[in-house]
């Protein structure tokens, strides 16, 4: 049996995984990254529109700061987020942009003087400040009060992944490409690494590490219609679930992006609407202002997606041979803007739709986009129940997005979480108490167990077709566990998914070749994906309220009194359903107590503690005027950050005194 030893085993080679490996390596710990594909092909690459960080360089971002970003994120989450984590995040995001700027990301920059932009379908001239010239620019995105989204044209994730990927190469961090973790190795509540399959040779081996980090992204492919890459099958989350010890948070919180191109589901960025694009119906009517007079096309994604579907249900969708859709109109932005700032959108429309978006409308419809749930962790990124297991990025639920993530906050989260969790992993590895000694017999048992499962699929008596089961699961999820949910549909979904899970234990392969065997891969993955699908569907069935992206037609109100809590799922052995538990959010500690989001439904049930906490917060606001002091009084968080990431962020309007700031390598 081959065993590979390292300090930090990072599962997933996207932005979060790469960045936390770099952090650990810089602190003197060896790291190995496992990746299904070459790291630079990870799904982080698909982030187009940008990354939120409150730099406040552009004139429309003036006055932006951590406090505004914090409030936008918490409102966006429909109060599902952990406010400590949101604070850690918003304070680190500007540092992350600045680090990436130094690492070579060609952020789009502010040009001083007049420029024409489109705001609310009007051409408007705005004037950028001289002192902002050459600094990182920001664009508008949904659910934000200020222009905060830093961008590289519409290839932001691509440019970030190039820079961070190259930094990982510079740091000599090995990426074991085309490998897949099939199971976590754990004993006595301690994680020791993973059983790993080489996707070229088919061989299994054990990787042993002091710390194991899951950074495998989302699980969009449990749905039929998704913007996610084909590798986003949630396997990292699933192997954590399969330990029976690690908990998975809020899997029912699934985001649907308003503008997947129809019918392929390929994403066109929120930047289209941020830069002034409009949503139109079959009559060419711009309908969003009718529903959302305040934020219009730029309400949060959950709200815009629901409004689009609602409008289609009213018969206002555009008919096509594949079904109905809405139009996205960016023609008013002009050819120059589209070909410079939205060029990936231009290419996608050109190649996949045969449409020229400088002249034509783009057919769009909401598509599954983001998995808010994931491996539940503490603010340090470590699982509260399985020692030595960490998670970061979309695969994690530490929980900064609650029930709806804002556009631009996920690619920001990848690097921010990489920075923060990477430091905590380094601390963890520094501590002699976390040294490990693991008998090879334990490793062997885990490898043998996984090998037996694969053998069962390869030569067993099974008769079920893996692809057919997967397709059916995806169909159920899209049809019954989508944007609008009902108890009846969810019950039917849970019931059928359970049956599919049982059937998936009886898969037989047509192709029994060892080594690369795509059918075998589909077979073992679909068994895991079904467990995640059941966490989503069952979690959604039990949660009898609507919050963020989770919308129950039969329970349309947000119900803080009963449901201001996080769903925690665990999975036991051969069960066909997860075990659900709930973790209450503490209103009495909230810096921003629950209220109306500023868009979407105004109707919700208050938590019994909300009024008292609101009064407390108001009283403090009356007394304290300095924003930093106010913040510290309401929700002290800085002690939660790694030391090297603490400290204020300089802005044009908030210069720092000349003392040396915090430094990092």
């Amino acid at each position: 049996m081959k065993v590979t030893y390292t300090d930090v085993l990072v599962i997933g080679g996207g932005l979060a995984g790469l960045r936390l490996a770099i952090a650990a390596k810089r602190r003197g710990h060896d790291a190995i990254i496992l990746s299904l594909v070459p790291a630079k092909r990870s799904h982080s690459k698909a982030a187009q529109g940008g990354m939120q960080a409150s730099l406040g360089n552009v004139i429309k971002g003036q006055g932006d700061n951590e406090d505004v970003h914090f409030e936008d994120t918490v409102r966006g989450s429909d109060w599902g987020a952990d406010q400590d984590v949101v604070r850690m995040f918003v304070n680190t995001a500007p540092k992350a942009v600045r680090e990436l700027a130094a690492w070579g990301v060609p952020w789009s920059r502010v040009r001083k003087g007049d420029r024409q932009v489109v705001i609310n379908s009007q051409k408007v001239t705005i004037t950028e400040r001289d002192e902002a010239h050459g600094l990182v620019a920001q664009r508008d995105f949904g659910g934000t009060k200020k222009w905060r989204t830093c961008y590289v044209a519409d290839g932001t994730g691509h440019a970030m992944l190039q820079a961070v990927g190259d930094q990982a190469i510079a740091a000599s961090i090995p990426v074991h490409e085309r490998t897949e973790a099939l199971a976590l190795i754990h004993e006595g509540g301690r994680c020791y690494g993973a059983v790993v399959r080489d996707l070229i040779t088919g061989e299994l081996s054990a990787y042993v590490a002091k710390a194991t980090a899951i950074a495998t992204g989302g699980a969009g492919r449990i749905y039929r219609v998704t913007t996610n890459a084909v590798i986003c099958e949630g396997i990292g989350t699933a192997i954590a679930l399969e330990t029976g010890i690690a908990t998975i948070g809020n899997m029912e919180a699934v985001q649907f992006h308003p503008t997947g191109i129809f019918p392929a589901g390929i994403l066109v960025t929120e930047g289209c609407r941020g830069d002034g694009g409009l949503l139109k119906d079959v009559d060419g009517h711009r309908f969003m202002p009718d529903y959302e007079p305040e934020k219009k096309e730029l309400a949060s994604r959950d709200v815009v997606s629901r409004r689009m579907e609602e409008h289609i249900k009213k018969g206002k969708g555009v008919q096509s041979r594949f079904g109905e859709h809405i139009w996205l109109d960016i023609t008013l932005l002009g050819e120059h803007h589209i070909k410079h700032n939205l060029r990936e959108v231009y290419e996608i429309c050109h190649y996949f739709l045969g449409v020229d978006p400088t002249k034509d409308l783009i057919p769009v419809r909401p598509a599954q986009h983001y998995t808010m749930g994931g491996v539940r962790t503490k603010p340090t990124g470590e699982s509260p129940t399985l020692k030595g297991l960490f998670a970061a990025g979309e695969a994690a639920c530490w929980d900064m997005h609650g029930f709806n993530r804002l556009g631009g906050n996920s690619v920001a989260e990848t690097v921010v979480a990489g920075m923060i969790v990477g430091e905590f992993i380094a601390d963890f590895c520094d501590d002699p108490a976390n040294d490990i000694s693991i008998p090879t017999g334990v490793l062997r048992d885990f490898v043998v167990r996984e090998q037996a499962k694969l053998q069962g699929l390869l030569v067993g008596p099974g008769t079920e077709d893996a692809s057919a089961i997967k397709a059916r699961m995806q169909e159920i999820m899209t049809a019954k566990v989508g944007i609008f949910r009902t108890g009846k549909d969810l019950e039917a979904a849970v019931d059928e998914l359970q049956k599919l899970l049982v059937r998936s234990r009886n898969i037989g392969l047509k192709s029994r070749a060892p080594g690369v065997n795509p059918e075998l891969v589909t077979a073992y993955r679909v068994q895991k994906m079904l467990k995640l699908a059941l966490c989503v569907a069952y979690g959604a069935l039990v949660r009898t309220e609507s919050r963020g992206a989770h919308f129950r037609e039969d329970y349309p109100r947000r119900n803080d009194a009963e449901w201001l809590k996080r769903t925690l799922a665990t999975w036991q052995g051969d069960a066909t359903l997860p075990t659900l538990a709930y973790e209450a959010l503490d209103v009495k500690r909230m810096e921003l107590p629950p209220g109306w989001r500023g868009y979407g439904a105004k109707d919700y049930v208050d938590h019994p503690d909300t009024a008292a906490r609101q009064a407390e917060v108001e009283a403090v606001k009356q007394k304290v005027s300095d924003r930093f002091e106010l913040q510290r009084t309401l929700l002290p968080f800085e002690h939660l950050l790694p030391e090297r990431l603490r400290g204020r962020n300089e802005r044009i309007d908030e210069p720092l005194a000349q003392q040396p700031g915090r430094r990092t390598a």
Partner: protein, 260 residues
């Protein structure tokens, strides 16, 4: 060539527009190098043309319904990750964004040459690109080891940032390398992808390296002087990178450096 012209070339390589319901014949080069008994051969699959069908959709349909053993690579299926480059009707391109109606009804698919073959249409571009990055040190060599993350970022001219991004759009798909005459003859040639990386970092004021440093890594026949100016790279680049001008420019700079 412009994007439009490139598409026309691809169309010319195919047999014209294909209507829905018409039969597609997709011939794939099959070979599994890890199986000692395997020998290369062409296998033809038939399926029905459908609206909006791409090679991503067609190949997955083949694998799900006709042949579960067929190997190929897709990740983003949106033309941005560079995983699915293959030789389509004799021309390297991204399979995910190739509409079958434009290249059918008879389509021939082969793996990219030059790269290590994993099996069928799957090649190990990742390994090649990592080696290229290590050799050319394709990262910003910083002035100082420490960055003050609390301070306002360094300024950059907005147009320069755009120019850097223009070259940074490379998706490392390998099309340029597989279309390169030199790369077919010498295994150590760095290809247009490598030369473009050097052009990108040369342009970046954050990188402290000088032309003398760049000359060290590409100033010979395995680098920029190996280019025979056939420019297949430029014609096939799916991202329309200005490879022709960048190679000429870098070569001129390296000649000047070599004459010093």
């Amino acid at each position: 060539m412009t994007q439009e012209q490139k598409i026309n070339v691809v169309r010319a390589g195919g047999n014209g527009s294909v209507g829905n319901g018409q039969k597609l014949k997709i011939s794939v080069m099959r070979f599994n190098p890890s199986d000692p008994a395997s020998v290369p051969y062409m296998q033809t699959y038939e399926l029905e043309q459908a609206d909006g069908m791409t090679l991503f959709i067609a190949l997955n349909e083949i694998r799900e319904k006709l042949d579960p053993s067929l190997q190929f690579d897709f990740v983003c299926r949106a033309g941005i990750c560079g995983s699915c480059a293959m030789v389509i009707n004799g021309r390297p391109g991204l399979a995910c964004r190739t509409l079958t109606k434009n290249v059918g009804p008879e389509i021939t698919l082969a793996p990219l040459p030059v790269f290590e073959l994993i099996g069928d249409l799957s090649v190990n571009t990742g390994k090649w690109m990592r080696a290229m990055s290590e050799r050319l040190e394709t990262w910003v060599h910083l002035k100082q080891a420490e960055i003050d993350l609390s301070r306002i970022e360094e300024r950059m001219d907005p147009e320069l940032a755009e120019k850097i991004y223009e070259l940074d759009r490379c998706i490392e798909c390998g099309c340029c390398v597989s279309a390169c005459g030199t790369a077919r003859m010498r295994a150590d040639f760095i290809g247009a992808v490598g030369i473009n990386k050097i052009a990108r970092f040369r342009l970046d004021p954050r990188d402290t390296r000088t032309d003398a440093d760049f000359y060290e890594v590409i100033g010979d026949d395995s680098g920029v002087f190996g280019c025979m100016t056939l420019l297949g790279c430029h014609d096939v680049c799916p991202k329309d990178l200005p490879l022709q001008t960048q190679i000429a420019f870098v070569r001129r700079k390296m000649v000047a450096e070599g004459m010093k």
